[in-house]
């Protein structure tokens, strides 16, 4: 037994560390997604000069609505789990999984910190350090279409099917733009590993400006944000579901199956925020913070403990994620919805040529600077 542990020490430690990271990171994301369901209602309320939900209470303590996610979950579980008589039972059951699982799997490649030394063991703060992480992101986010389309088709409902068609058309179109905006980043960083891309953003331009993606590729950032919100199926691109007027692909879903689709949407908000932070805003990088502490451009330095540096980096990543989540909520509650022809026109006539132009300009700049 002891020999077995000794012989397989590395792989066992790796498994243990990966399991721990999955538990902690996924737990954090699930908790944050649950809070986002509350935050969406609170942020929209505050933007519209309202108070928002504040009634759900435990033993008379409401904490300004903090218990509403729990109340919502209990309500969802208690609802009747209805399956239409003519629905494809198997696919109808599978569709919520197709919506939720790929989105959750994507978090594996997102680095939420550099590394921590724990008892001499180097713990990388990223669940899966894949060389082609960015392509996995694109591949798995393409999987989300299956959830939408299977749900619409398996419901055997014409309106759900129409919603699913709209959704599939929108997601396939914006997938292209999303992929093309990231090509510029691939050319600059020369790597598809997200951890490498974040490390590359730790350099300084002209000795003072952090070389974040948004500084190098501001154009790509705006295109990425638009395409990512469209991929996320949220306002101003929410004509997939259009909860108030037009009917979406999950109209036959109820109870926790419906909640799975809603939850997938909120997890996607976190995912888009984390991707925006990782690719364009330096991920876990804090400006001027290095492994040994702060080194400011003027030459002054502030040495910091290793654990403090790691905590600052993870905190920086969290703050960026929260900021972008907030930003997506504000966008969702500010802008009106696009018409379908406007949506498609924006994608194919505006965003796609601009993304291609961005690649051309990036390439030209790289050649001119002699970096290629």
């Amino acid at each position: 037994m002891i020999e077995f542990f000794e012989a397989n020490k590395d792989i066992l430690l790796f498994t243990l560390a990966a399991g721990l990271k999955v538990l902690v990171f996924m737990g954090g994301i699930m908790g944050f997604a649950a809070l986002l369901t509350l935050a969406e209602r609170k942020v929209s309320a505050l933007m519209q000069d309202r108070v928002g939900p504040n009634r759900a209470s435990v033993f008379g303590f409401a904490f300004n609505g903090l218990f509403h996610p729990i109340a919502d979950a209990i309500k969802m579980i208690m609802k009747e789990d209805f399956v239409p008589g003519r629905a494809e039972k198997l696919l109808f059951t599978l569709a919520p999984f197709f919506a939720l699982v790929p989105v959750l799997a994507l978090f594996a490649v997102i680095p939420f910190g550099d590394y921590v030394m724990v008892f001499g063991y180097q713990l990388d703060l990223q669940i899966a350090d894949l060389p082609l992480g960015l392509f996995l992101v694109l591949a798995l986010s393409g999987m989300a279409i299956y959830g939408v389309f299977l749900a619409g088709w398996a419901s055997k409902n014409n309106f759900a099917l129409l919603g699913a068609m709209r959704g599939a058309a929108q997601m396939v179109s914006y997938e292209v733009v999303l992929g093309l905006t990231l090509v510029g980043l691939l050319m600059i960083y020369g790597s598809a590993n997200l951890q490498d891309m974040v490390r590359a953003q730790g350099r300084l331009l002209f000795g003072a400006v952090p070389a974040w993606g948004v500084v190098l590729q501001p154009f790509a950032f705006i295109l990425f944000l638009i395409a990512a919100i469209a991929e996320n199926k949220r306002t101003p691109f929410d004509l997939v579901e259009g909860e108030s007027e037009i009917i979406g692909y999950f109209m036959e879903y109820s109870s926790m199956r419906f909640a799975a689709f809603m939850f997938a949407e909120f997890v996607e908000i976190i995912l888009v925020s984390m991707l925006a932070a990782t690719l364009f805003f330096g991920g876990w990088q804090v400006p001027y913070l290095y492994e040994t502490g702060f080194i400011f451009p003027g030459g002054s330095a502030l040495p910091l403990d290793h654990y403090l540096v790691s905590a600052l980096q993870v905190g920086s990543f969290s703050v960026k994620t929260v900021f972008f989540s907030w930003f997506l909520l504000v966008v969702r509650w500010t802008l009106p919805r696009f018409r379908f022809d406007q949506l498609m026109g924006l994608c194919w006539k505006a965003l796609l040529p601009l993304a291609l132009l961005n690649i051309l300009l990036t390439g030209a700049a790289l050649v001119a600077l002699g970096k290629l």
């Binding site: 000069d49 504000v330 509650w333």
Partner: protein, 184 residues
């Protein structure tokens, strides 16, 4: 004369057509509201209704839950004349009259029911009352109930004077006043 507001449908300029600049301006407006309200939650105009109430505006206080006024001797001011029951458009008032053993002038309501589940809060009963015995000035707004029975107000629920209000003296009828003075 209909007031006409002229809309200036000028063509959009370049900044407005690419939409991003205007999105940014819109986001500024909404996020300004967000932060102002986040740091100044007291300024939000929302009233948390059951706990926090505003005074009813204007004459709305005269269209609240009914009451029957009480005389100084504890008897109802109502003389069971059926005026209100006749005037009621919702047929929600039910009166059964009875006679005092020693009073030949007045009757009194042995039963006075108002079914709030049918009442339309029109105030016709108050207008119709010749004795000014019924009024709708309690300031309480009838809400929902879990049971129809809870919405049926009987004589006991209705007979009350407002806090601080002196008990009603006298009646409209001269003979009734003489009788009342005789009782004192």
């Amino acid at each position: 004369m209909i007031s006409v507001k002229k809309v200036n449908n000028r063509p959009l300029n370049f900044l407005e057509r690419i939409y991003l600049w205007e999105i940014g301006r819109g986001l500024l407006v909404t996020s300004r509201h967000f932060f102002v309200n986040l740091f100044n939650p007291k300024k939000i105009v929302t009233v948390s209704y059951p706990e926090q109430r505003l005074p009813l505006p204007g004459a709305a206080g005269q269209r609240t839950r009914h009451r029957l006024k009480v005389r100084a001797d504890g008897s109802p001011k109502c003389v069971a004349c059926f005026m209100c029951q006749t005037a009621c458009p919702a047929y929600c008032i039910r009166i059964e009259a009875a006679e005092y053993p020693d009073n030949t002038v007045e009757k009194y309501p042995a039963v006075f029911d108002i079914d709030l589940s049918r009442c339309v809060m029109c105030g016709m009963c108050v207008e119709a009352c010749p004795e000014d015995a019924i009024s709708m000035d309690t300031g309480e707004i009838p809400g929902g109930a879990g049971d129809r029975g809870e919405l049926l107000m009987t004589r006991g629920d209705l007979l009350r004077n407002l806090p601080g209000e002196p008990s009603v003296k006298g009646a409209a009828n001269r003979l009734a006043n003489e009788y009342l003075e005789g009782k004192e």
